[in-house]
């Protein structure tokens, strides 16, 4: 049986790629106006990126123990679905606005999470929506996004 791969090597490679990309990006910066004393705009980011590269090399070369199963449990399909819903919060917000999105999100994610009755979830989601409206809209006078559908309907 092949031994499990140590993810630290992949992590080190990713960090090194970030450092190299940062060094490469510094070559695209505008030139420093002549006559300015001291360090310019590129030296410090290059120095930090070089240190990052060196640290990535050390991480790759030293056989650091890989993260345990406890640190990185398998991501279930339900978890992926919740991640997708988190990502979907923004597009939904653009359509129906922040306040209506909140209870919908809380109930749907709560149901997917499991272990709590839908009535409890619905009540707490409603309470949360009202509390956020009171605190942020009424007290802090924050203008929360309304969403194009709500604006179109004239609310």
């Amino acid at each position: 049986m092949r031994p499990a791969r140590n993810p630290n090597h992949a992590i080190a490679a990713s960090i090194a790629a970030v450092a190299l990309a940062a060094i490469a990006a510094t070559f695209t910066f505008d030139p420093v106006p002549p006559g300015l004393p001291g360090l310019g705009a590129v030296e410090f980011p290059r120095l930090v990126s070089a240190i990052l590269l060196l640290l990535a090399l050390i991480l790759g070369l030293t056989a650091a123990a890989p993260p345990s199963e406890e640190d990185a449990p398998r991501i279930s399909s339900r978890a992926w679905l919740i991640f997708a819903l988190c990502l979907g919060f923004l597009p939904l917000l653009e359509v129906i606005g922040m306040i209506p999105t909140i209870p919908i999100f809380l109930v749907v994610v709560g149901l997917l999470w499991g272990g709590t009755a839908w009535r409890t979830l619905a009540l707490s989601a409603l309470g949360m929506g009202i509390a956020i409206w009171l605190v942020f809209v009424k007290i802090f006078r924050l203008t929360l996004p309304k969403g194009w559908l709500v604006t179109m309907l004239g609310f």
């Binding site: 992590i11 960090i15 970030v18 940062a22 510094t26 910066f29 505008d30 420093v32 004393p37 001291g38 360090l39 310019g40 705009a41 410090f44 980011p45 930090v48 990126s49 240190i51 990052l52 640290l55 990535a56 050390i58 991480l59 030293t62 650091a64 123990a65 993260p67 640190d71 990185a72 449990p73 398998r74 991501i75 279930s76 339900r78 978890a79 919740i82 991640f83 988190c86 990502l87 919060f89 923004l90 922040m98 909140i102 999100f105 809380l106 994610v109 709560g110 149901l111 999470w113 499991g114 272990g115 709590t116 409890t120 707490s124 949360m128 956020i132 802090f140 924050l142 929360l144 996004p145």
Partner: protein
């Protein structure tokens, strides 16, 4: 003394006092919630404090910091699930005491020793911070640069999988701090034509993303079950015999906590673990440890709360965060237009002493609340994760959107959340990244100023004894594993 009395006078203001009380209640509340730490809450609350003005805002955040450490011990004792990482050492003995039917006594001792440790460290803070600030008056840019490098090197010991990963996270934080316009040359860096990046990465969305959303995504994968709570009557004030038994543990914890807290980057969790070990080492009842020792509750609780005051010493006197949480508070001060450092003691002494006084008040508040309402706070851990974590996500969205009402900040917050989640899964700690982000700007600025002073000659650092000493300590600390290996080989 005049400044301190001025600070006390501010505390008499009902609005400030209310914010301290609210911060204390909120701190205990979130401290008792497994998974939500004081740093997560302070990051979440940061946007709401912007409109408050500097004094109520900092008093509010300071009170959360003080109380969250204590709140974590409630669920550590009652549920064996530390609400805050700094309470993990308390769970070792506290839960065993609860199983033996001594939950009330464990909670009582936790409240009292936490308050003693907290008050002790604030007294040290009141004395030491002005002295350190006075000493720091002779600091120039080279010394501040060396201090920032030293502070970042201490991140190696912050926690997580390995020292190298912590240093990588810190370096990433410094690199992120370079995004946006370079103040000395006016050149845009790493902005890639994106307006939201042109002014630099803002602290608030990154902090909320890394701590709150990162933790929420991690909890989605773990899907923790609802906690089971141990029955108890009420917390009770420990008697004279118990005090006598724990006297040494409380003072050991208070001393260690204050010292560890004052070191850059090391915070309450490290203090509590060392406090527990040292309490056990110096105990006359070693045989009780592991079976529910009351000293094993008193020592780490005094230590983790003493670390709070300790970590505020370098934060306020030098502008170098003493822990991840104080790095967030430092970001909060900067957002409020307050620049911590030695000049703060002459320019805004009232603000400083109001912070000290509010922290003292927070310790007294949670002592009372802890003794009389511990049973209520313990029930907080019963909030179903299916309600708690989605709510945290919603509050994070509003928290990131609120300050500038910008959806761009929400996107930055979500990206930071994914980074925080990946960090947790790959053995990185988000705390060094925050330290790097907060210190990065100061580091570059002071390095540039130093080189102008030195006429671009790096070797001139050797002519500055304080800077050189700090750089040497940093080098020895970072190379210590190699030095130790070489020593063993001889």
């Amino acid at each position: 003394m005049e400044g301190f009395l001025g600070g006390l006078a501010i505390l008499i203001d009902p609005w400030v006092m209310f914010m301290v009380f609210l911060g204390t209640v909120l701190g205990i509340f979130v401290g008792a919630l497994p998974g939500i730490s004081g740093s997560t809450t302070i990051a979440l609350m940061l946007p709401m404090t912007i409109a408050m003005g500097p004094i109520p805002a900092i008093c509010f955040l300071g009170a959360i910091y003080c109380a969250a450490n204590f709140g974590g011990s409630i669920t550590a004792i009652m549920v064996n699930a530390p609400g805050d990482p700094s309470a993990s050492a308390t769970a070792l003995e506290g839960y065993k005491m609860a199983e033996k039917g001594q939950a009330g006594l464990a909670l009582g001792m936790s409240a009292v020793s936490s308050a003693i440790g907290g008050i002790f460290s604030i007294i040290v803070l009141i004395i030491a911070a002005p002295l350190l600030a006075r000493a720091a008056y002779s600091f120039g840019p080279p010394e501040y640069f060396a201090l920032a490098v030293f502070g970042l090197s201490m991140c190696a010991a912050i926690g997580g999988d390995s020292a190298v990963k912590n240093l990588i996270a810190a370096a990433l934080g410094v690199l992120i701090a370079t995004v946006g316009m370079d103040l000395t040359t006016g050149i845009e860096r790493f902005a890639f034509g994106i307006d939201e990046l042109a002014d630099g990465i803002k602290f608030v969305p990154v902090l909320i993303g890394l701590f709150a959303v990162g933790e929420m995504l991690d909890q989605v994968v773990r899907r923790a079950e609802k906690a089971k709570i141990i029955a108890m009557d009420a917390a009770r004030v420990p008697g004279m015999a118990e005090f006598r038994k724990c006297n040494r543990a409380i003072w050991i914890g208070s001393g260690i906590g204050t010292f560890i807290g004052a070191l850059p980057a090391l915070g309450a969790t490290t203090a509590a673990l060392i406090g527990y070990n040292e309490t056990r080492r110096w105990s006359k009842h070693k045989e009780e440890f592991g079976k529910g020792s009351i000293e094993g509750v008193a020592g780490p609780e005094a230590a983790n709360n003493a670390a709070v005051g300790g970590s505020m010493v370098p934060t306020l006197a030098l502008g170098i965060p003493g822990s991840a949480t104080t790095a967030i508070i430092l970001a909060g001060l900067i957002v409020q237009g307050v620049r911590p450092g030695p000049h703060l003691f002459t320019e805004q002494p009232t603000l400083l002493y109001a912070v000290f006084a509010s922290m003292l008040a927070a310790n007294l508040f949670y002592l009372g609340l802890g003794l009389y309402m511990a049973k209520f706070f313990a029930r907080i851990s019963l909030v179903p994760p299916a309600i708690l974590w989605p709510s945290v996500f919603v509050l994070s969205i509003i928290g990131a959107y609120g300050p500038d009402q910008s959806m761009g900040d929400v996107v930055i917050m979500l990206v930071a959340g994914v980074v925080g989640f990946l960090f947790r899964r790959t053995g990185f700690s988000p705390a060094p990244l925050i330290m790097g982000l907060v210190l990065g700007g100061k580091m570059e600025e002071t390095l540039k100023q130093s080189l102008i002073i030195f006429g671009d000659d790096v070797g001139m650092f050797a002519t500055r004894p304080i800077a050189m000493t700090l750089l040497c300590i940093t080098a020895v600390g970072l190379l210590w594993p190699l030095i130790a290996r070489f020593w063993r080989m001889r």
